[in-house]
Assembly symmetry: C2
Homo-oligomer: 212 residues x 2
């Protein structure tokens, strides 16, 4: 199978989200055009994205909603039981721990860590916040597939290093730092400040764009 662009994977995930909507509304089939309109893209794009993985549609008819959902779940690995640890139990970390959407999508929080002694021992969604004193050993025991990091920038690289050493191969990083990880480890960065700055950039430059 040829390499798939990350942007394509991101869209596959969105298609799955929209298919859930179509299924809820009782649609049995859906065309690439309908999926494209939901997702703000084009029908050719939808077909290209799907065609990398096989031929799931029927010409003249479109895609069978439940079948395409099954295929996308398979491709994305949705529905397996994914074990997640959260490192950093601050505002964002705590909110994520309590976010029920995770559970609904098969993500299972198996551990929460914090370096702040005042938080250690408190319960979040029935899970006791652990000290980072034995971080690597504890992570090894918990065997998570995914690590979510909501730690300060300066703690980000050391934390990532320990997660990787303990066997984690996928990291969702909320810290404003570029993590260096070995091959075979995937990192996704979510940076609130940058998201907002892209918006303020557009606000500042919008009036200029009009004059072109």
């Amino acid at each position: 199978m040829k390499r798939i662009a990350e942007s394509s994977v991101r869209r596959l995930s969105l298609y799955l989200r929209y298919l859930e909507g179509f299924a809820a509304r009782g649609h049995l089939t859906v065309s690439s055009e309908e999926l494209a309109t939901s997702g703000g893209t084009t029908s050719a794009q939808v077909r290209k994205d799907l065609s990398s993985f096989g031929s799931f549609g029927t010409r003249g008819l479109g895609y069978t909603v439940p079948e395409l959902m099954t295929q996308l779940r398979e491709i994305l690995g949705v529905g397996r039981d994914w074990r997640v640890v959260i490192v950093g139990a601050g505002k964002i970390g705590a909110a994520l721990a309590q976010y029920h959407g995770f559970r609904q999508h098969g993500f299972h929080v198996v551990g929460i860590f914090d370096a702040n002694k005042t938080r250690v021992g408190q319960l979040l969604e029935g899970i006791k916040i652990r000290d980072t004193a034995h971080f690597e050993r504890d992570v090894r025991t918990l065997k998570p597939h995914i690590g979510i990091m909501t730690v300060p920038a300066e703690a980000a690289q050391p934390t990532a290093h320990k997660l990787v050493k303990a066997g984690v191969r996928a990291i969702l990083n909320f810290a404003p730092a570029n993590l260096q990880v070995p091959d075979g480890v995937t990192v996704r960065n979510v940076n609130m400040a940058s998201e907002l700055e892209v918006l303020t950039y557009s606000l500042v430059h919008q009036e200029h764009e009009k004059h072109e």
Copy 2:
């Protein structure tokens, strides 16, 4: 000025983040190479990104840290007083409202809304959660620049519509929905489920990649 790629703007924001680090460590100048290493990109990329907006460096020397920070802040619109409303005071909305990083970057939460009557009237960071009954009127009064939406998928499009009608031109959307907005309105989507699914995709497909 020619159109700037969104990926470039995103990187400018990261450069600013890393410059803050260099400044804190007392660096007076920084080369495109050093910035590139921090940001996981290449020096040519850094120079290209900056060159769209002017010549900020000195050949043979690099960039003056405080000067480049000033320029980037100017370009991105950082440091102005940006007024923000948060719509949806659930787990994520509440965490964002309490997130102090916003305040530090000049983002000022001026209003919080929720449709759930049990939450209305409660205080978050000293701001009373408002009913959505008079949403559009209230937003007009608050005059926010940015709307952050943490509402359920089905409420997303109507909420966006009302925000736009009330004059908001930039939306940070956490709902899993593709918002239709008129020209001149910028939307950025943050979708936790999709971020995680990109990670699970990589976990599922990593072993395959090895065999190529």
